[in-house]
Symmetry: C2
Subunit: 157 residues, 2 copies
Amino acid sequence: MTRALHIDAPVGLPVVDMTREFDAPPAAVYRAHRDPELVARWLGPHGFEMVIEVYDVRTGGRYRYSHRDPEGNVYRFNGVFHTAREDELIIQTFEYEAVPDVVAVETLRFEALDGGRTKLHTHSVHTDVATRDAMIDSGMEQGVRESYERLDGLLAG
Amino acid sequence: MTRALHIDAPVGLPVVDMTREFDAPPAAVYRAHRDPELVARWLGPHGFEMVIEVYDVRTGGRYRYSHRDPEGNVYRFNGVFHTAREDELIIQTFEYEAVPDVVAVETLRFEALDGGRTKLHTHSVHTDVATRDAMIDSGMEQGVRESYERLDGLLAG
């Protein structure tokens, strides 16, 4: 079963909040965010190929990766990890390289639910409202929804 | 002469914008932000002692320092550098350790002005409006004003 993705993007604030439940415990969901070979199997919309250059989930670690869409267009992203606390919390910056030097900060909280499940809370703060709105208009919701569907499959596998 | 500090903190947005001119070129102002032994001489309100544990201004580098006020109270801060581009740009995260896991992102742009001067633009985005407001209410403006007065002195020295 695919669980609901809840997105809250208040008008006039540069913020996006999302929650999503997973049928696996925090340790498994965290591991799928930490291990590059797992991340590459679920992060991104359907049909995109992810190539990871570096993905070093620890305080002061960096990540950089590209997504290639079915038409061959390539989108590159990078950031640094401010906090990485096993099975609990990741705080990272986020930059889409086509819009250089415009950096968001994302906080991911892995909440343990009864029955060995997890609620993932993501709080993203963009540099301004226009940047937040552009991110939403770029198809963010579909990309996140499809990513989490693939993550469901990975966690069930 | 002490130049004016301009602060813009729009009601209802988690953002603070500041500008300040310095009578020194970008390379000197950048160096005063990059070299820990220089940073320790100006960052913080008058009468505070700064102790730097780490201050590694490069992409993926970390900083952590404490400020001790005249009464002996200690305030600790840390973050990571997302971007450090010599004489131009620093993008860093910011965490006040008394409020853990609440992380802002700060963008510092060093703009060259005529006459070998610099305009420093600082754009800070906090995790929410309440956190931004608490930062302002904590005496942020006075702390920044006094820091930059000390930086004027360092640059003139």
